[in-house]
Amino acid sequence: MVSEGHSDVRGGRAAGRRSWAGWQFVAPFMAVFALVFLAPIAYSLYLSLFRTRLIGGTSFVGADNYVRVLRDPQFWSAFGRVALFLVVQVPIMLFLALLVALAIDSGRLYGSAFFRISVFLPYAVPAVVATLMWGFMYGTRFGLIGNINEAFGLSLPDPLSPDLILASVGNIVTWEFVGYNMLILYSALRVVSPSLYEAAALDGAGQFRIIWAIKLPALRGALLIATIFSIIGSFQLFNEPSILKTIVPNSIITYFTPNYYAYSLSFQGQQFNYSATVAIVMGIITMIVAYLVQLRGMRKAV
């Protein structure tokens, strides 16, 4: 707050010196950005307006590809799967991350630094390795499920069966990102001024009251960001299913997620135009959902 006046001065000064000098610094980033973000988006939009047939070549079809996506049961099946995933997995993961962040921030843990870094470590593990590890552990051959069944004479359900594979993917994703989200929330908690806690303690507020009245409101912005990242991540789900398919080919269908569908269309079906359209539609849906969540989150904050 002390910097308020200072930043006014700074803003005024900067405005008075408005020049192109800043572009020298931003231009290199923007040049590569244009090549790997803007150009592909434009090219993708262009592709989505055409159709290529083996006989007859490429022809302009206008919005036909988009109409086809909207009527495509495989696309909607894939979409329903990631929507279900989003509704179940994201709240579980963020709730776990929140609990751990609050526990570490409370200062009441023995060895809290060890907790903080250890819970975060899975983030450093590539999705490929995470999925291979869990895939082996799930497996009945040398997996833990097989071990437990053998040791206790149980017959636990196979996590890699088509019925359970989505939940198993959810567990892998939760494992990979719970620490990352915990760290986002924890960083936000560290910024809360200690004087607020002291004031609350003087007023006789207990731990839960402090969490409810101070910490959770302070976390709103960070939770919103974590939620939006998680929505984008869920809708983009690809790596974990694609690697599980190398372990249990029959449990992952070609339209398991929208991204997997787009991938299969392109690289197995050579349907580049339709694949581009599927990816665009999914991108638009993602942006709309992220935007709505953001609006809702902001309104609550006011």
């Binding site: 000098a21 090549l35 609990l99 023995y110 250890s118 040398f142 560290r190 991108g283």
Partner: protein
Amino acid sequence: MATSTPTAGRSKTIAARGPLVVRRRRSPRGRRSATLTVLTALVLVYTLLPLVWLAINATKTQEGLLGSFGLWFAGDFALFDNIAATFAYGDGIFVRWLLNTLLYVVAGAGGATLLAALGGYGLAKFDFPGRKAVFAVVIGAVAVPGTALAVPTFLMFSKMGLTDTPWAIIIPSLVSPFGLYLMWTFATDAVPEEILESARVDGSGEFRTFFRISLPLLAPGLVTVLLFNVVATWNNYFLPLIMLKDPGWYPLTVGLKSWNQQALTAGGEAVFNLVITGSLLTIVPLIAAFLLLQRYWQSGLAAGSVKE
């Protein structure tokens, strides 16, 4: 939590326990709680269990993998044999994948960090025409799913003759919108306007000022961004999967997947012990980097979150 007793003298008791338990900031609140520690440890068990599983099973032979309990050692300790076999298998292709990954990380993540630092600094410290447009375009494009870009990028690169070359991996890795955002928020606070002003008065050019004066001040933010870019590049899977056909250019991730997949193909040799040992070798450098550099990246992250 049941152990908390709201006594006024709590801070005194903590002080009386001596310097061993001195808390950095919020000393008046709370004592250590065994109950809370045990409950939080359950999450810790969940996050560490697969890593423990990996470390244990990297010590087993292929027969040991099949015949022993997953969370304990098999009879013979084959870790070093496995490591040697991992490096030797397929004419040493694992070493090639490791070197490829290092190339992609040094060029991609290093370049991305430099571009993000330059760009974030430019956005934080200069007012220039189009500044708001840069912000809008970058934030807007981040919301576009990465995989939505993958197919058109592949087709574009294929026309430019870049697929199946390292450039197909390095060029897209150079852009990190998250890194730009982090450097921007970091530079806003870390580089005082007064220093820049006095450098200008002394006749220092903008780039000279950046490299000589600003860059050292940006160091904690740089380490954070670099570390996250290194993870993103080291762990990159989707991009190399679609861009590369030649196993000679694979990074570790795609290579490991191909080893695992080979058990499925007709006549392919199952090398699960190598997949597991290779996985361990793949994650050890990153985990070491996070542990060694944790002081720097955690302070950089905290500084970034002030702006929320």
